[in-house]
Amino acid sequence: MSAHPQTRRAGQPLLKRAFRALKRDRWLYLIMLLPLAYYLLFWYYPMYGVTLAFKQYKPKLGIIGSPWASQNGMKYVLQVVNDPYFWTVFKNTIVLNLENLLITFPAPILLALLLNELASNGYKRLVQTVTYLPHFLSTVVVVGMMNVMFNSSGIVNQAIAALGGEKVAFLNEARYFRPMYIGSNIWQGIGWDSIIYLSALSGLDMELYEAARIDGAGRWKQTLHVTLPGILPTIIIMLILAMGRIMNVSYQKILLMMTGSNQSVSDVISTYVYRRGITQADFSYATAVNLFQSLVSLLFVGVTNTISRRTSETSLW
């Protein structure tokens, strides 16, 4: 993040400096024009929608024209933060996502490294192509198959019974919910998520391996000292971006997996908002929750980004 020396030069009037920068970077500004227009038109122009969190929405009046909600516009925000159950689902969301991240984040990196070690190029391509298939199955199908495999007479419990074990209620007991959820996530995402690392691996400098080999480094050392540092920027960026989704859980999969017994751990913010939404189409409440989620993920990303910036060269901003 080193500022350009020119912008540091003291004593120059701001306007003149700005004009100079504009002239010097005119091509960059020109290139930025279309993306800028895009972000302004499709992101910033509709951004007034955020005020919905503080409004008593009347469709006839529009978002801007709708009156402020009661309690100085804080009605929905207070409804969110004063609801004890909201904090339960908030905790569930964070725990589920952190545990999920802890396991599903390294898995595709590992797969990419293993693929990288394969001697046969054809086999490598085959494995890549096949492992990314589950990404295309929709949640409904994935959970449906899980139900078939893990129910009391499913193949897993049959195997357990054959080995003399007790049948396990994988789909119902609270303690199995997170393992089942995360396990199916790995299975569904490992191949797809490894693509980005494979592409990063392909960009590594062969000369570095050459040099490492001359230094007498074995495969393991090469992986540790050349491969991993080489894809570290990608890993870090992916980690920071993943932090940005720390509050997001798709409600669809959870609703399909939820039972009365596991609700104490499976109920998350999105499912709770969904359930509330069935009884009342409450855009203001949903917007207030979104706003809260945005702030929390901003916090997570900010912290990760700062740590990353201090310890490595890579950062989001």
């Binding site: 119902n172 009365g260 855009f283």
Partner: protein, 531 residues
Amino acid sequence: MKRNRFTALFLAAVMLLSLAGAALAETPSTWLCDELTELHVMRDENPSQPIKSDTLKLKTIEELLNVKLVIEAPPKASYSDKKSVLIATDDMPDIMYVDFADVKAYARDGMFVNLSEHRDEMPHLFALLDANPSLSMSTIDGQFYSAPTLYRSNPDTALSGQLVNFRMDLLKKYGLETPTTWDELYEVMKAIKEKEPDLIGMTNRKAGNTTATRKLLDCVSYPLGSYSSIYYDKDLGGQWIYGPAHENFKGVLSYLNKLWEAGLLDPDYASMTKDLWAEKLSSGQAMCTIDNDGVVRNYNVALSTINPEAAFGVIPTLQNALGETRNIAYSNDRPANAWVIPSSCENIDLAIKFLDWCYSEEGTDVNNLGKEGVSYDVVDGKKVFKEEVLAKYAANGANAIYDMSSELGIGLLEFTPRYDTTPDNQMALYLQGSDEAREAYRAVTQAILNDPGLVDNNTIITAPPLSAEETERFNELLVAVENIVWQEVDKYITGQEPIENYDKVIEAAKAAGAAEMEDIYNKAWAAALGE
């Protein structure tokens, strides 16, 4: 070339003549407007029955009314999202299919035309609404902002519900009497289980986005003397009760616990899915399920390929331990599914006239049967589909009714504010093949129709009209109370907690607002009746 010129001349002459004719002739009296006008309507499309744009119904409407109906049909799977955005942005078509919950949420903001103000222009609709006082529950501050989906009784009327579907062949095989009480049902299942220990007693499914346990209780708790949500209990002195916060709910849980302990309840009952349910029923793994009898009957076909004798049949309503004999039948009128005209509609007059026409006998005929002489005939005063029409689609078997309805544009899954069951039942009867089978089928539907224990679910769950504040408060409480109740229920079914401890759940639910919810409903109910 010469011939072409002749044709052109001839056509021109015909056109001139017909123009002159049109100028002389009066507008047909059935027309709703002088110029052909488009009306855009919207409803969801069920994947089984695609909504087409060139159906007999649409052509008939155009001929009769001079209205060109354009049906926009977003897929059912995403309709609720689409609908809420269209309402929230006030960007609706001329007539839209909504939930009554939407009407409650938005009518007071002036989003929809107040139909009561147009009472005189909607004689057919209001004649039906006035004839059935219970429909006054579908009002907002005493006004109708929506037209409910209504049912026209007809000679082919049938009833369906969350009935007790049992493998009748098993009763016969082991010489058991058809149970008449829930306790006998337990005994019968136990007796069969002794002979066939691998069989599951009672199974269930998941439906929509609630849990499987919730669906099970939606189905069994009313006949067992309570209900899974707020409901009107005629047997408890006629009052609104939040079922899970009442003593009677313990009876429901005890019964299920009794099944569980005897190994009669599906071990996967809490995590069942619809596919697994279908599998267990159609492969003969289960004795019984309390659910939609029409859906369950479909699995008999698969079942019969394993064992020709095997079939699910409906057991008449059973008596519960409280001495009540009651169960839920799906209401034929559907006030929860309503049709609104947005106040931003550009042609309100026409939309009103057209919507009202849909409730007339003529409109109901067109929407459910197509065109007389083309798709159906009137034989001895009874409307019957032409045999060749039924035969054409019957070849498609299970999809026959949907294919026919899709092609003709008719039936409940089309733009049909007032429906009857004529197409479904005539097709079902036709598919039976022999007269003998038809008689048997009729006997089944008649038995259900004549079951005195069946209660129309409208009279159980249709909420009284609430004010805006009451609605908001009620919804708030409902979410809080349900969060408490539904995490506890399974513990009592599987015996992790003794049933006495359920009193604590009742207390907690009451503390979270169950009692206040009941108050809100009971007061509104009394007020609605007083009016």
